[in-house]
Symmetry: C3
């Protein structure tokens, strides 16, 4: 519970209307009730201002209402994110090393950490100030986790891997699993020991049950601010830049490099040993099969420019018609040829 004035001050906006309104929670515009704050990030929803039951709405400059109070912000979606944080998220007090947690005497813990029951922090591991390890988190030896990180239940970080500050890892994610590398020896495969590590930059988030493989030699690297969704596979020696987005179930094969500000849609993929530039978008289910320069928007498998894919995809269901017409044309042309021949040799 907070006044609209307090919220506006927190999230960076100014109030138009009754700044003393008490707000209980943030809610979607069509579910909001009295006492709720909602938001309009897209101008096409402005009409909903006429019907919403919310008491207050975050909106862009120029939006007006005589029904509800407004918090005017240049970036309403960002202001909404901050409002949810302010009203709904409370940072829990540090609980230290709880009963049932296993912290090796040669591990190093920062101040204000919380290590829940069932966690294992191995020899040589370091956990930064304010970091929380939920139950069942396993840090192998010599792992480094930065400050104010949040590792959810059953997250595993294997030996020697390093996480920056404010990294969030959802439950069950695996950082530093062995890369998939074998040397053929006759008909059999001999494992190539994977002795590299994973380095994860500040402000990265990694989704539930996602797997980031350690390098064979060297480093698999996830750049600052990159966000990875659930069930994503990142192969060994992959290097991903900053502020890149990998949506759920994406797979990036080994040794591929991806630039900054890229987006891979759900179930997308990149083959191995590719170079993908900055600001590249691979649409959902798209599969990069070759290098891609900066700024391209690609779809399909193998990926092609999105506009080309859209057009070709619209023709695809008509392939049976095209084949049928082709056969008809063939017949007609044969007939014409025959007729012409007859005309010439009467």
């Amino acid at each position: 519970m907070a006044s609209l004035a307090d919220i506006a001050a927190q999230i960076g906006g100014h109030v138009v209307g009754d700044a003393s309104l008490e707000i209980k929670r943030v809610a979607p515009i069509d579910e909001a009730r009295e006492g709720d704050l909602t938001f309009i990030a897209n101008p096409k929803y402005v009409a909903e201002l006429e019907t919403t039951q919310a008491s207050a709405v975050i909106a862009a400059p120029g939006v007006e209402s005589d029904r509800v109070a407004l918090i005017v912000s240049d970036n309403p979606y960002l202001a909404f994110a901050r409002a949810v944080e302010f009203l709904h998220v409370s940072r829990p007090a540090s609980l230290g090393v709880m009963d049932g947690a296993h912290v090796h005497p040669e591990a190093t813990l920062g101040e204000g950490v919380t290590i829940h029951p069932g966690c294992v922090v191995s020899a040589g591991a370091r956990v930064g100030n304010g970091t929380i390890l939920h139950p069942g988190v396993i840090l192998y030896s010599d792992v480094e986790v930065g400050e104010n990180c949040l590792l959810h239940a059953n997250v595993i970080v294997r030996e020697g891997c390093r996480l920056g500050d404010r990294v969030i890892v959802q439950p069950g994610a695996v950082i530093g699993s062995d890369g998939f590398g074998y040397a053929p020896d006759g008909g059999r495969y001999v494992k190539i020991p994977q002795v590299g590590i994973v380095e994860i930059g500040d402000d990265v988030e990694i989704g539930a049950a996602s797997c980031i493989d350690r390098a064979a030699l060297g480093v698999t690297r996830i750049g600052r601010g990159t966000k990875i969704d659930n069930l994503v596979q990142v192969g060994h020696n992959v290097v991903i830049g900053e502020d890149t987005i990998l949506v759920s179930q994406v797979g990036i094969a080994g040794s591929t490099t991806i630039g900054n500000h890229c987006t891979f849609g759900g179930q997308g993929a990149a083959a191995g040993h590719l170079h993908i530039g900055n600001n590249v978008t691979i649409a959902a289910r798209g599969a990069a099969a070759g290098n891609i320069p900066d700024g391209q928007v690609m779809s399909g498998a193998p990926a092609m420019p999105h506009k080309d894919w859209l057009k070709a995809s619209m023709v695809f269901p008509r392939l049976p018609d095209i084949r049928r017409e082709m056969q008809q044309l063939r017949k007609k042309v044969a007939q014409l040829e025959k007729q012409l021949e007859e005309n010439q040799d009467p």
Copy 2:
């Protein structure tokens, strides 16, 4: 070990032949030996009655045999399922809170529960009567799990999520991970706190390592009787109806609603913010890219009616032929045009 008469009484059928036969186990028809019970769910396998080594067979009315005893049932496959349950599954006795389990004093446990070593049941969590938590299950604060649920090893249910009765969760599944939502702030992404929950209806099953994201605000909902296979992703604010099937590796993007009695084949998908009706089938690898009304059967990516996709897919490998023929036709038509011109201007 049970007599055929006892089994028939349990599974709902009547015996034709020696009802006193002692049955040891249920087996597939081609692996069954003396003392085994098997089944014929599909009439096309009736000929196997002549060769099976099984002592007894569950079959539909009208099937006859002078070699083996029969249990006649209107739904042989269902009767088979019940026979496996009766002969092979024994509900273990309750073991209470075992050594090495961590149950918070402010958690509430029903009667007859089993909480294995390594489990964590947090403050405010409630576990219903007869529910079993296998080793390493983590219930965050305020989780509610209904009666007679079976949560396998290392399942995680995050804060405030609710499971109905008789819910089965396979090992390593994650319920209530954060949805994937960020507000752009310049070139960076700011996390939108995911403060909603997940609600799972009665008789739902969730597969190993599947992830059901909590809502941003509000509820991600899985309806009664829905069955979800392994490695499936369900995004935030998704609403799935009753008795719907999601086969392995399916991905459902955020805010999509799916009706009752739908089926998504393996590696299928739905984009976000879609409405998919009741009784819709998306074939394996199909990807719903727009709303789909009731009763449709769809394939392909983007999904189209299955029959259209089948026909188009059969033409696809002939695309090089079509292009070649097109070039030949172009040449022939050009020649015909030239000839006609010459004929007209002799």
Copy 3:
């Protein structure tokens, strides 16, 4: 640190150059520095011998250098794998049953095992000599794990499943989850109890968060030497041969059999109840939809011969052109027909 002579003796090769050189580590050819050993597995990289900073290089017979020492080997990639093993991997000493591990009194442990904190070894389970269970590994009742296996953190093996010797399982993998089988009962689904097991042969590796379902009845089988990457789904009653490769995010539906020496590329798939022969390759994202005889290389969904798929995929982006040309041809042919008709009836 070891001399080049010692390394050559270990990995099976002979030294050309200074055999007394002390080698610190193995490194990729473009990152290697003084004191490093690197390798050239592919003759096209021989030119890099002129620029590498490595002190020594593993190479095939016939390669020569006056800049660096060589270890000459018939299989440089395999020799490299062994060199990494020799220089970088040390088998840790056995630690026995550590504090915080839960081993049931009716479990059987071999000699020289290590059972880390948070592990649960249930009644009737057997762990072979020299096997390591990392933290949080859960073995249900009657599981058998062979000798010198390495089960990483939070791996789960459900009741009765059996692993051979030298099996490696990456973190969070699930062996023996229930297969996905239900009998329709009116509009609802009744679970078919999955009472079979999983058997995994010697020298198999299973990737992080991969799921191998137990058989409904009988056995799901993974043959000796087969390597499975991360986030792979193997359905119930699947039988996979020896030395087969499943790359990340592959899904194999129930009851399909796959032969020896096959390869499924990333995100590939096979439908259920198929027979796939020996030496079959399914390219990345390929989906086997029918039986496949020995030795085929297939791509696409549904899978077709790879060469056909390559050609058809190159035509796909030109579909809009093909349709446009088709329309032009249709017009021209109609015009020709009209002209001919006019010529004949002047």
